[in-house]
Symmetry: C3
């Protein structure tokens, strides 16, 4: 029995156990599976849309493509958000032609000028007395909720699901961050050539970190050991925190903005606090800024990702503020992940009925698969 | 009970009634529905191809894509049109490589040189004595008919359907126009990002006219009232005719060519006379020219449209003839319709199981849907 | 009864017989048929990959797309070829990111650095003791074999099929050519807009040659008569050989390289000797060079073709060697075939339920169809 040396200097091998099955390759390749996911997941779960300060005035609107649907969000007269499918109840024209804009007062269909109030009630059909219209022709609503300065949508307008119940590890871990107050300092949107679950799987483990993310692994010793969380290997000495001399996830390792004053000393020392909200968002909160990443499937083999860097607005209004150490660091990590996600997607199509294996080090990924299997009501 | 003012100045609201259901969204989005339409409609109904004067000499040919099929039309030795599928009976090569051209005498397959007469009979297989060929290997014919100087095809070569029976309101309404004599002064072909039925639905009502077609609505007071025909609202004073000072559908409102001398005074005053030939053509006859528009589905979400402006050939041969007021006017209306057709198509995909509603003002559209439902043998 | 003259001067018509049915058009158009072909043919049959001298050093690799699968070939420490699906057994990343390259020693997955030996055995999982891994996680192998200096793959790693048994007319007809010794003087890869069977069908008959390949038909009198082999028409005087004054298939008709000294006088006189290895390769051996052509379906309506011109390496190392008469001649024939293959594909889609006919002159094509029907277990 040959005992092989690990390539990561000085880190002992963990004891081997049973490998868990990953999902069959068809779950990453078959358009029919994506159709089932749209129904079982993307039309039942909460999804991040945008920051609450995106729209300012009553009648301002913004269009979003959620799964295979299209909706718009509008501010009503009380500056409250309302969301509707982007479709006129008459013959089905979109109501919002541009991706964002401003209704003068009512929501007026560009085709036949049916008018709806900003709360979605049909208030005028040209040439027809709307009072006697016998069917309910109000706009088709979607459910909205807010958290941490973010707006979320659920296509199931009657959902009883709470956003907070879906937060992992829980809704309170970011309580000391002034999320509502933060503003977007930078936003990037890009499309990866991979299934949306491949992107999540990559996020959920750090087994790939030593080879793929050398800069990140320098900042977080645990990642250099291939561990995403400390409890994956109790024998391993590294704690789940940035290295002693590191303040934040930046190219310099230094914080670029004032440290949030409401953080505990422990939260500052840890340097990164994560929240996942399946299926479409995770947040990484640092001492001086927060990065939040959201995604939407665009096809079974492509995924659109948006990353936002959130800062204190006072810092952003400082003309000398330099966001680039944080933006470049995060963008580099995303670029590195994009490469391996696309390699993973390509290989899943190489051999037909493939099914991969998960190790101890990918327990969070196995947990994600369990949630996914439950949503999809499958056992594979 | 609040009574809403209509945005169209001075036009009373018509009395409301039951709304009729439009077609379910899948009928505009599902490729399988288009396959069924190809079989039930596009391979059973007459369809416009081209003007009879397009080809001049025996052996001249032109290729057309009808639904999901490809045919060609050729002039035989008697200068009569014949039409065949563009496929050699041997191994299936196309016979016409270019979209138009001239056979020297016979129709010769470019692959193995099987030769067919201009009436489709196989007359030579190189190296094989065709006399004893035991199967019927003549070209696969399509049915052709003519009307008003137009050539029409029916892919069902044994159809018993008459073209005239499909004309709405009937085959005689254009009897006073010298259709056979007219020539194409301008032709444009473009593709819309919408299902072919969306294009028809838009054509079949003028409820959208006041907002979408301001120039056209100025010319036709009835359209300014959102009415496509006078009988939609008996209380409305407007007649189905151009305004008193208008002669034709042009940017100036003036006729640009001599008024057809065979028209009645009433036909001149009305200013526009319509004929629809479902599923692929309509004609609009004015006092000085005729515009005819034909269409073909290219996918479930795209439609190719060709518009032709027909004039008296004597006028066209006049070096001072200026067609632009008629062409610009019609092209502008088509551009306006293209925009809203594409908005309608996009919205039909926004919310899943959508089904729109038809008002009183869209009775022609409801009638079209009834014809469509009958063709497709559906009740939805 | 009219007796038609054949256009080919002086060649009598052969006696007509029953025509055989070709394959129904759906076999050239339906993506579901291609899926069935992948399983029944492309995953069960031997297929040409590359010349054995392509890779030189242990660890050198090259990636291939075979049907709808992706594999790579690697040289092991003994400079023997091994082939595997391009997928890591862990979570399915490709192992080879580039289409060709060099592993430093082991095959290391670019994602999580799992390492495999050059014979495919898993030898290291970072952070995990591979010795106790309870499942077989070696690479998924494919079968390889060699012939004539060529490397062939069979995706069925346990195939009992011999490559030689699939050679038509047989494995020995090229025994006198020094195939192992030859080297690639020129290679071209291109994609045709046709089903892969259309390309084979075109290759398998010369009924099209007089009209499509005038240069080739000048070199081979039999082809000028529309005959691919002499036995198709016993009454025809032409032998299956190049014309008396012709040495090789080149633009000049002269050999451009020394005639292979091991050929018999008869083999030199014939000027071309063919071997087919369905479904993906044929070879044409001339007195001074060998051309081999291989193909892969890329979709039901597109086929990737690679042609290689093989020469004696001594000739290739001669600085005055001019390959162009052979390359230009072959490339011209392939261009001519590409045109008619694409015309054939287009016509197959023109008329719906089309089924073509095969003549006496296409007996090899009928034989190919029989092999195909047997593979697919169909009778149509």
């Amino acid at each position: 029995m040959v005992k092989h040396e690990d390539s990561i200097k000085g880190i002992p091998l963990i004891k081997p156990t049973t490998l868990l099955p990953s999902l069959p390759a068809a779950y990453y390749l078959d358009p029919n599976i994506l159709e089932r996911e749209y129904a079982a997941i993307w039309r039942t779960q909460w999804q991040y849309l945008m920051r609450l300060d995106t729209l300012k005035e009553p009648g301002a609107f913004k269009v979003f493509r959620i799964g295979d649907r299209e909706i718009f969000i509008v501010l009503n007269e009380d500056r409250e958000y309302r969301g509707f499918y982007n479709v006129c109840r008459h013959r089905g024209s979109v109501l919002c032609e541009a991706d964002s804009g401003q209704f003068s007062s009512n929501i007026i269909c560009p085709y036949h000028q049916w008018s709806y109030g900003l709360d979605g009630a049909l208030i005028k059909m040209p040439r027809i007395d709307v009072v006697n219209a016998i069917e309910d022709l109000n706009l088709l609503p979607v459910a909205l909720t807010t958290w941490g300065g973010n707006l979320y949508v659920n296509l199931d307008s009657k959902t009883s699901l709470s956003l907070e119940s879906m937060m992992i590890p829980g809704p309170n871990v970011l309580d000391n961050w002034p999320l509502e107050r933060l503003a977007v300092g930078h936003r990037t949107t890009f499309t990866l050539a991979c299934n949306w679950k491949v992107f999540w799987e990559n996020y959920l483990e750090c087994y790939h970190c030593p080879a793929i993310h050398p800069e990140l692994s320098q900042i977080v010793p645990l990642y250099q050991a291939g561990l995403s969380t400390a409890n994956l290997d109790p024998d391993h000495p590294a704690e789940d925190r940035v290295a002693a001399h590191i303040e934040s996830w930046t190219t310099t390792g230094r914080a670029i903005a004032p440290v949030f004053s409401t953080l505990t000393a422990a939260e500052q020392v840890v340097g990164h606090t994560f929240v996942e909200i399946y299926p479409n968002q995770y947040l990484v909160a640092h001492a001086d800024y927060v990065r939040q990443v959201s995604l939407q499937p665009r096809s079974v083999t492509s995924t659109q990702v948006t990353a936002e860097w959130l800062f204190d607005p006072d810092f952003l209004s400082d003309p000398d503020a330099d966001l680039s150490p944080a933006i470049e660091f995060g963008a580099r990590v995303l670029d590195q992940d994009t490469r391996v996600c696309e390699l993973n997607q390509r290989g899943l199509a190489a051999s037909g009925r493939f099914q991969g294996h998960l190790t101890h080090l990918e327990q969070d990924l196995a947990d994600f698969h369990d949630i996914y299997r439950n949503w999809m009501q499958i056992n594979t």
